[in-house]
């Protein structure tokens, strides 16, 4: 039974997997916990699974059965990294990727894959100057308190370079899902489902990439190694269509929260292959799914690295709109997530017929 559609689509176990994935700590460079969950889900169900020098997890199914199609989803999330342990056992941090640092003061956090609980405290307003009270503190002046009295208890558990995230538990509210790191556990969960029920007629290369948030680094290596014929990138995009202070229509909102899966024509790093854009939009129309065009402009996905790898790879990105991306807690519409899965699945099934319209490498 689908989440939204009764006959096909995502299932309860996909939702549970997504929620579990959001509660892991897997910041750029430390994607292991997510790779582990993905590996366990796919072991035995795909032709091959390999982990490369950067930690990318590459899964292949349908080997030799048709055009070699890479579908990529990045496993990493934005977060923070420990730069110093002070005399009282407090941690100093820097951000990793585009973390929205406004959410840090007063936040409960998890440090390391074992999720050691901590809080980011602040000097009370009563003791602060007018200037201090009216501005967010700089991240360099923030301190994570792990609650230990003795510095040694912290040093035996935390090392410089350990990463961490907000301590956010996922929660469903009707059609909406709250969780941290929906960007891009949503994409990861979709890709797992695709590999478990792959469309026939193509060789599907599932690239669970690392370090997207700090420069599309994993995707570059994965694409160079696999040299696919085509690529699709599953990611999330900001749905910033929220009320502005003066009630005006927001000028740049990337995607509408209610607009359905967002097809990229162009972003800050990539111009999508027009034939792939058309494939997605025509497929959506055929199976009666809404889509929107993600507003061109800033931002990037793994497509930025993939499409210019090797001799070039026709690529398009498909994203699910997410509210409050890169904050302590983000939100997605489950219907939009399911629509994105149905769309990519149907588009991949149509590919073998469309294959000869693409330039051969």
């Amino acid at each position: 039974m689908g989440l939204i559609r009764a006959d096909v689509g995502l299932r309860q176990d996909d939702l549970e997997r997504l929620q579990t994935l959001t509660e892991l700590v897997a910041v750029s460079g430390h994607e292991g916990p997510v790779a582990e969950v993905v590996r366990r889900a796919l072991e035995g169900a795909v032709d091959s699974l390999r982990v490369d020098a950067l930690g990318n997890l590459i899964a292949r199914t349908g080997t030799g059965k048709g055009p070699r199609v890479m579908v990529a989803a990045h496993m990493d999330e934005v977060g923070f990294i420990v730069t110093h342990i002070d005399d009282s056992g407090g941690l100093r941090i820097e951000k990793v990727g585009g973390l929205d640092t406004r959410y840090l003061p007063g936040a409960p956090v998890w440090v390391g894959p074992q999720r050691i609980p901590g809080v980011i405290g602040i000097k009370p307003i009563h003791l602060s100057s007018e200037e201090e009270r009216s501005r967010y503190p700089r991240i360099q002046s923030m301190r994570i308190d792990l609650g230990y009295v003795n510095r040694e208890d912290v040093e035996s558990r935390v090392e410089l370079g350990d990463t961490g995230t907000f301590a956010t538990r996922s929660a469903r509210v009707g059609d909406r899902l709250w969780g941290k790191a929906l960007d891009n556990r949503v994409g990861v969960a979709t890709l797992v489902r695709l590999l478990l029920d792959p469309p026939s007629g193509i060789e599907l290369i599932g690239a669970f990439t690392v370090q997207e948030e700090i420069g599309l680094r994993g995707a570059r290596v994965a694409a160079q190694a696999e040299a696919p014929d085509l690529a699709f990138v599953l990611d999330c995009t900001r749905a910033d269509d929220m009320p502005g202070l003066d009630g005006a229509e927001p000028p740049r909102f990337n995607a509408r929260f209610d607009g359905g899966p967002a097809v990229y024509v162009a972003d800050g790093r990539t111009v999508s292959h027009p034939r792939l854009v058309r494939l997605l939009e025509e497929t959506a129309s055929e199976i009666d799914l809404p889509t929107q065009r993600r507003r061109p402009g800033a931002g990037g996905t793994d497509a930025g690295a993939i499409h210019i790898s090797g001799r070039g790879v026709p690529t398009v990105s498909l994203s699910v709109p997410v509210r409050h991306m890169h904050g302590a807690v983000s939100q997605v519409r489950l219907e939009a997530w399911e629509q994105s899965y149905l769309l990519i699945e149907a588009a991949l099934r149509r590919l073998p017929e469309a294959g000869d319209e693409f330039p051969q490498p």
């Binding site: 002070d86 407090g90 003061p105 409960p108 009563h126 009295v149 202070l245 000028p251």
Partner: protein
């Protein structure tokens, strides 16, 4: 292990604190907290009553007559927020008491409608904010509550004026430290409860009143009317004070787990303060003097000035991150406070009023 790590609090006290952190109880709507406290205190006292403004007052009477009346009190309201507007299904907020707006983004909240609604405080996307905001300026106006509901549903269920409480659970660190919302002032209510548990079954030489006041964070009306109504001979006010984290001024803050702050200044009776310090020393409870040059910013200020005047002492428990969702305290400080108050009750005599003069 240090004594901070093994505080040996009564399990009922921990259970109570756990519940109190979960309950809203904002200024003016303290009902749920009052009910929970009444449940905890009724079996430990002779009589419980509720005053016109909602103060909870519990009496333990002495067999001795005539005797003096000692009041132990802590405020039960917490700071929170209130809905000032509804826009596209998002809620705009005003403060109810002094919350720290720098820490609100990402905070879990509950909108206190007929059927409470869970949500989160979110920051508006930077692209929608004026230039000053992008360089770090904080304004409550830049924040919204997102309930993950469609705008029509929000319009149907939420009204302007509905209050919004920070929500969350009490969490334990190692080493006897805890964190959560509203430790100001629920940690003090836990200390008062532990005091009653320590005195359970003992004969008292004084009439004891234990009270939880309303509206300390806003109008201060609870403390003022309490003092006026009961005019005790002596009042102990228990509140929180600023805990010391690295980088904070030493003269204005107090270390966690190293005992209580005892107030000194014109709003507090000096002989009482001395007496408290003597009792603390003889019962092995650690304390530090907290100098308050004008007023204390607590119920003590108004209780002192109520009716014909009341002699007051202020005992404070240090917490970190005051008025945020991650206040941090030490369980051993709760124990220290209860030990001190119980020791004082045992040591005080029916004619304590004659013994106390201002100079």
């Amino acid at each position: 292990m240090s004594s901070e790590q093994q505080p040996h609090l009564h399990p009922k006290t921990i259970e109570l604190l756990d519940d109190l952190i979960r309950l809203p109880g904002l200024s003016g709507s303290e009902g749920p907290v009052r009910q929970r406290l009444e449940r905890a205190w009724a079996p430990l006292v002779d009589q419980v009553e509720v005053t016109r403004l909602g103060n909870l007052v519990a009496h333990r009477r002495s067999e001795t007559s005539p005797t003096a009346t000692l009041l132990l009190t802590a405020h039960m309201d917490a700071v929170g927020l209130i809905v000032s507007d509804i826009v596209d299904g998002f809620l705009r907020l005003e403060s109810l008491g002094r919350l720290d707006p720098r820490t609100l983004a990402g905070q879990k909240v509950t909108v206190l409608t007929d059927e409470p609604l869970p949500g989160y405080v979110v920051a508006r996307p930077k692209a929608l904010l004026p230039e000053e905001a992008r360089s770090g300026e904080v304004e409550l106006e830049h924040l919204l509550v997102d309930l993950a509901l469609r705008p029509e549903e929000v319009e149907a269920r939420v009204q302007i004026g509905d209050t919004v409480s920070l929500s969350g659970e009490l969490q334990q660190f190692a080493d006897g430290r805890i964190f959560g919302r509203a430790l100001d002032n629920r940690i003090s209510l836990a200390a008062l409860t532990e005091t009653l548990l320590e005195l359970e079954g003992e004969e008292l030489k004084l009439d004891l009143i234990v009270a939880a006041t309303v509206q300390e964070e806003t109008s201060r009306g609870g403390g003022l009317t309490l003092g006026h109504q009961y005019q005790p001979d002596l009042a102990f006010i228990v509140d929180t004070t600023f805990g010391r984290a690295p980088g904070m001024p030493e003269h204005e803050t107090f270390p966690l787990g190293e005992g209580l702050a005892v107030g000194r200044g014109p709003s507090l009776h000096p002989r009482v303060g001395e007496w408290v310090q003597q009792v603390a020393d003889s019962s092995g409870v650690a304390w530090h003097a907290e100098v308050l040059p004008r007023s204390s910013g607590t119920d003590a200020d108004w209780i002192q000035l109520s009716g014909r005047g009341v002699m007051c002492s202020l005992i404070s428990i240090p917490i970190l991150n005051t008025h945020t969702g991650v206040e941090v305290g030490s369980l051993s400080d709760i124990k220290a406070c209860a030990d001190l108050l119980a020791a004082f009750v045992r040591a005080a005599t029916p004619n304590l009023v004659e013994e106390l003069t201002w100079d």
